[in-house]
């Protein structure tokens, strides 16, 4: 095996096309996970035991099974199920699969944020006669969410790195393109190196940015919770 700079240069624009698919898919999955995360929080707060246990159990199940299995299930097995079976295009299947998988993580992040809000905040809002919706909107969420932003950011990076799983169900992103190139010319080292470099180029600066966010919010939150 020899390393060829020519191949390396050649393959960059090819992989670059897939970069946008990877980034787009990451953003789509992430938005889905962020929004759907609230669904689990909401369901686990329903004051009726059987319902919130059921949903907690489902979330736990999704969290403890590999995302790859879930992707395969949604893409290959779901269409085969009678009545509710639907055939999805690979991109949609990936958003659904990874989005749902990671929503079980974001919901835990939200939950920790919500639980970190002092009980006295709920009581003061009751004493001021706020409705349940007003408590959430004006008092609890504005305090619960900001300190979780760094954690949510970390999940963005983790997700970015999990998105290549989607190539297994045929989403043509970076990894898929690199594989195709390898199969065609029997050159794997260069294209896969380019894929790795692109990932590094995006995730390392993001990690630095999130580290800074983390410092900023930790400081702010410390100051605020010191005394209410």
């Amino acid at each position: 095996m020899t390393w060829s700079w020519d191949v390396f240069i050649n393959v960059i624009p090819i992989i670059f096309k897939g970069l946008w698919i990877t980034v787009g898919l990451t953003i789509a999955c992430y938005l889905f996970a962020m929004i759907f995360g609230f669904f689990w929080v909401f369901m686990s707060r329903i004051p009726w035991r059987p319902v919130n246990w059921l949903f907690r159990w489902i979330a736990e199940f999704i969290r403890s099974t590999p995302p790859l299995v879930q992707l395969f299930f949604i893409y290959y097995a779901w269409p085969a199920i009678p009545v509710i079976g639907v055939t999805l295009n690979p991109f949609v299947a990936a958003i659904l699969g990874l989005g749902i998988h990671f929503s079980t993580y974001t919901s835990e992040v939200y939950r920790s944020g919500i639980e970190s809000v002092d009980k006295g905040q709920w009581e003061a809002s009751t004493a001021l006669n706020l409705s349940t919706a007003q408590k959430w909107r004006h008092i609890i969420l504005p305090q619960a969410i900001p300190p979780t932003i760094p954690m949510l950011g970390n999940y963005l990076i983790i997700m970015f790195k999990e998105v290549p799983l989607a190539s297994t169900i045929g989403v043509v992103a970076m990894l898929h393109l690199a594989n195709d190139y390898g199969a065609q010319y029997y050159k794997y080292v260069e294209p896969l190196t380019v894929v790795a470099l692109f990932f590094l180029l995006l995730s390392y600066p993001s990690a630095l940015l999130i580290g800074r966010l983390e410092k900023k919010y930790n400081r702010r939150f410390d100051k605020k919770t010191a005394t209410l």
């Binding site: 006295g120 004493a127 001021l128 006669n129 706020l130 409705s131 305090q143 605020k224 005394t227 209410l228």
Partner: protein, 259 residues
């Protein structure tokens, strides 16, 4: 004859196996200032938390303006557990100041005071702001309105908390050991504000307090609670100067000794 604004009728409250209130009967008249004293664990705080709907009684009835707080009549005229709408209607007459202030840390002092009148009572924002500024001026904080709670001292926070509660114009105001979390030198400024409120008159006040001199000074009536029952009640001088029951005498001696 004037009707009481708040009535507790044989109120009981248990937390798990522990019964903290064992049948409380208590009438509060409009404008009356009542001080609750007693050893810790005697149930004083629970009494006012029940009225603020922060806890639900295990037995008995609480009425506000003659209306049942925790039970309501449904369409078929049956008594059922109060829903949120019912609670919110009655709760509008009650305000509370907490031991640990519970200001909203993500809002400025002014925003803390303006929030509830604007979103709960849906009053005009400009009017609310005017009232809030007056109210903050009354508690001596007109130069702090744009600061955040974390930038204030404990005494200042507690004065904001009072202004915030007063913005809702409650007919009954509850004070839950409002000076207990303060440094000793900051207690005076908070008591001063409460004293002014008491003198202003028309609002009924229930104070859970360890400040005996203060209770003696502003209360119309003092209640001594012990192990979940009202052990003794009467005019402040009667209770604090000439206690009858052994337990109250004990409590007061221990209290003066510990100071």
């Amino acid at each position: 004859m004037e009707e009481p604004i708040v009535q507790y009728k044989n109120i009981r409250k248990s937390f798990g196996d522990v019964e903290v209130l064992k049948g409380i009967n208590l009438d509060i008249m409009p404008g009356e200032k009542v001080a609750l004293i007693g050893p810790s664990g005697s149930g004083k705080t629970t009494i006012i938390r029940l009225l603020m709907t922060l806890e639900q009684p295990t037995g008995g009835i609480i009425e506000v303006n003659g209306e049942n707080l925790w039970l309501m009549q449904n369409k078929k005229n049956e008594l059922v557990e109060a829903d949120d709408k019912h609670l919110r209607k009655i709760r509008g007459d009650i305000g509370m100041v907490f031991q640990h202030f519970n200001l909203f840390p993500h809002m400025t002092i002014l925003e803390n005071c303006m929030l509830a009148p604007t979103i709960v009572k849906k009053k005009d924002k400009a009017d609310v702001k005017k009232t809030a500024l007056e109210m903050l001026d009354k508690v001596g904080l007109s130069d702090k309105v744009d600061l955040y709670p974390s930038q204030l001292s404990g005494g200042q926070k507690q004065r904001v908390a009072m202004a915030r509660a007063l913005m809702m114009r409650p007919k009954v105001m509850l004070f839950d050991e409002v000076t207990s979390a303060l440094d000793p030198e900051l207690v005076g400024e908070v008591l001063e504000v409460i004293r002014d409120l008491a003198k202003a008159g028309d609002m009924a006040m229930i104070l859970v307090t360890h400040e005996m001199d203060f209770a003696l000074d502003i209360a119309d009536r003092v209640l001594f609670l012990n192990e979940g029952t009202i052990e003794e009640e009467g005019h402040p001088t009667e209770i604090l100067v000439n206690p009858k029951s052994e337990r109250l005498k004990d409590f007061l001696t221990r209290f003066t000794n510990s100071r």
